[in-house]
């Protein structure tokens, strides 16, 4: 088996690659012969095997094994193949980028042909994409001052600035949201309001100055920054942890249902 997978050059490489594709086409043709009502089980089988690999790798008792690339490592008989398998999955997943690009191109080329204002924006979209692809790829394959300058303008000048700006818009939204939502309409809203204000006062200089007057050592626990730390480390941690338990078990249940083909009433039912 191992002797089969040796790198090849020139014509030998060509033949082998063509062979692989021919084999795949044959395989697909054979699979296509699967009667419609059984296709669902084929898909479920693939899902089961993929999940089983990761589950076994995790649960199987560990011993010291030697992997091809990792050297001495702790794991079981499946561990050495992990790196290679994750590389393969990464490669296969990378090909899906094309699907996203096709979808974007379809939407925007339709707008482009329609004309008008939307067409202009779609043109901007295409030009920006093209510029970034060309400069991004050239910067790696032909590193010189021109590509690196252009990259700096597109990446540092435009893209990361746009990122940071969109991110910072949240500051504006947080103000309007807190102004509108934090009203003492119900017990819940009141609790929300009070803790938010206390925590806010605890983290700014002016807020800390407000309670600096309290000197008595027993009452120092009332300093805003102390209260804030107490809320964030103790009360917050307990509630977040409790929510986390439910989420963890919920996630596990969904995973089990998908893995074992027990999901019903949605796409994952997998009618094939």
């Amino acid at each position: 088996m191992a002797s089969l997978f040796v790198p090849a050059k020139g014509g030998a490489w060509d033949i082998r690659v063509v062979g692989v594709f021919a084999l795949c086409v044959l395989l697909f043709a054979l699979l296509q012969l699967t009667p419609k009502q059984y296709r669902k089980y084929v898909i479920q089988f693939v899902t089961l095997i993929a999940g089983l690999y990761y589950a076994l790798e995790f649960f199987w008792p560990i011993s010291h094994v030697t992997g091809p690339t990792k050297g001495e490592a702790e794991g079981n008989f499946l561990t050495p193949s992990m790196e290679q398998i994750s590389d393969w999955l990464t490669i296969i997943a990378a090909f899906t980028v094309g699907l996203g690009v096709i979808n974007l191109s379809m939407v925007h080329s339709k707008r482009l042909t329609k004309g008008g204002n939307t067409a202009f924006n779609s043109l901007v979209f295409f030009l920006a994409t093209l510029a970034m692809v060309v400069v991004g790829v050239l910067k790696k394959s032909h590193p010189n001052s021109l590509t690196s300058n252009l990259y700096q303008i597109l990446f540092d000048g435009a893209l990361t600035t746009l990122d940071a700006t969109m991110f910072s818009i949240i500051a504006f939204y947080i103000v309007s949201a807190s102004y509108r939502a934090f009203r003492v309409r119900s017990t819940e809203a009141t609790i929300l309001l009070i803790t938010a204000v206390v925590v806010m006062l605890g983290q700014i200089a002016v807020g800390q100055a407000l309670t600096r007057g309290i000197h008595s050592s027993t009452l120092q626990v009332l300093h805003f920054e102390v209260v804030r730390d107490w809320i964030l480390t103790l009360a917050n941690a307990a509630a977040v942890r409790a929510i986390g338990f439910g989420l963890g078990i919920g996630g596990l249940a969904v995973a089990l249902r998908i893995w074992l083909g027990l999901e019903r009433g949605s796409y994952f039912d997998g009618q094939g």
């Binding site: 790198p7 090849a8 082998r16 690659v17 692989v20 795949c24 697909f28 699979l31 296509q32 084929v42 693939v46 999940g51 990761y54 589950a55 490669i91 296969i92 990378a94 090909f95 996203g100 690009v101 974007l104 204002n117 924006n121 901007v124 920006a128 093209l130 510029a131 970034m132 692809v133 400069v135 991004g136 790696k140 303008i153 000048g157 435009a158 893209l159 746009l162 940071a164 700006t165 910072s168 818009i169 500051a171 947080i174 009203r183 017990t187 009070i194 938010a196 806010m200 983290q203 809320i231 917050n236 509630a239 409790a242 986390g244 963890g248 078990i249 596990l252 995973a255 089990l256 998908i258």
Partner: protein, 266 residues
């Protein structure tokens, strides 16, 4: 002058200008959705798409696939291309189910990894929740167990509070039976209130991080861009410009009053 030498000389001035224009362009959406915002939105989207394609090629496909496949002669990597091609069959009515096969492979893989995710996320939280509720002195290490820290009275009180919050919030998340029992009803309700306590705290503490981002943008506009574009007095010039712009927006906003249809329907 060629483009190359022009850029060499000016790139450090072009970058802040581009940055400032992009910043103001996106901020224009704060007044209302408009043509300028739309332009920058599409520019953003285009650059991000281009970047996605370039990095997928540069960082994944080139080093992990094309180089070993084509340059190093590892011909069996052609199987990866064939497997990836299956995805594209979703557009075919006849072969659509084969795309589901490759999707199924990834669904299975992510489901199988969930055990490890569960253990990494949840498991440590279980034994870290074992907190002593009664004070005791420190216990020295012995065979079979490490040294155990002393528990003071205030530790014990904090631990009791921790436990009560944990149990109340957990009791809220039982779904399969009606919480008729008045004790259970009480714990579930207080669990909800305790969560609001947490959410208020998260909100309050996140505000700072978000404001820091805005302050940084202002710092960029005033100091980085201002000094570069207008020299030493740049920050002041930009500040005055920004304030004038803000005043204008404020004036327009007040003149219109609260009748903006989308705004703040309480």
């Amino acid at each position: 002058m060629s483009l190359s030498s022009y850029l060499d000389a000016h790139v450090l001035h072009i970058v802040p200008w581009v940055g400032a224009i992009c910043t103001l362009g996106l901020y224009s959406v704060l007044y209302k959705e408009n043509k300028i915002f739309r332009f920058f939105e599409h520019l953003f989207l285009g650059l991000a798409t281009g970047y996605m394609i370039a990095t997928t090629w540069n960082d994944v496909l080139l080093p992990k696939w094309w180089t070993p496949f084509h340059d190093e002669g590892k011909w069996w990597l052609a199987f990866a291309l064939a497997a990836g091609a299956l995805y594209y069959l979703i557009y075919s009515k006849k072969y659509n189910w084969m795309a589901r096969m490759i999707i199924g492979l990834f669904l299975g893989a992510s489901a199988g990894q969930q055990f490890q995710i569960f253990v990494n996320d949840v498991w440590p939280q279980i034994y870290k929740s074992f907190k002593p509720l009664v004070p005791h002195a420190a216990i020295a290490a012995a065979s079979g167990h490490p040294a155990i820290k002393a528990v003071t009275t205030s530790d014990a009180i904090n631990n009791i509070i921790f436990m009560v919050i944990l149990l109340c919030v957990m009791s809220y998340f039982f779904f399969s039976f009606e919480q008729k029992n008045s004790f259970l009803k009480g714990t579930a309700k207080s669990g909800r209130w305790l969560m609001m306590f947490t959410f208020g705290a998260i909100f309050g503490s996140t505000i700072m991080a978000r404001l820091a981002l805005l302050i940084d943008r202002m710092d960029f506009l005033l100091n980085d861009f201002g000094s570069d574009a207008f020299g030493d007095n740049g920050p002041k010039i930009v500040l005055v410009g920004l304030l004038a712009l803000t005043g204008l927006v404020l004036y327009l906003g007040l003149k219109k009053g609260g009748d903006d249809p989308g705004a703040d329907v309480v």
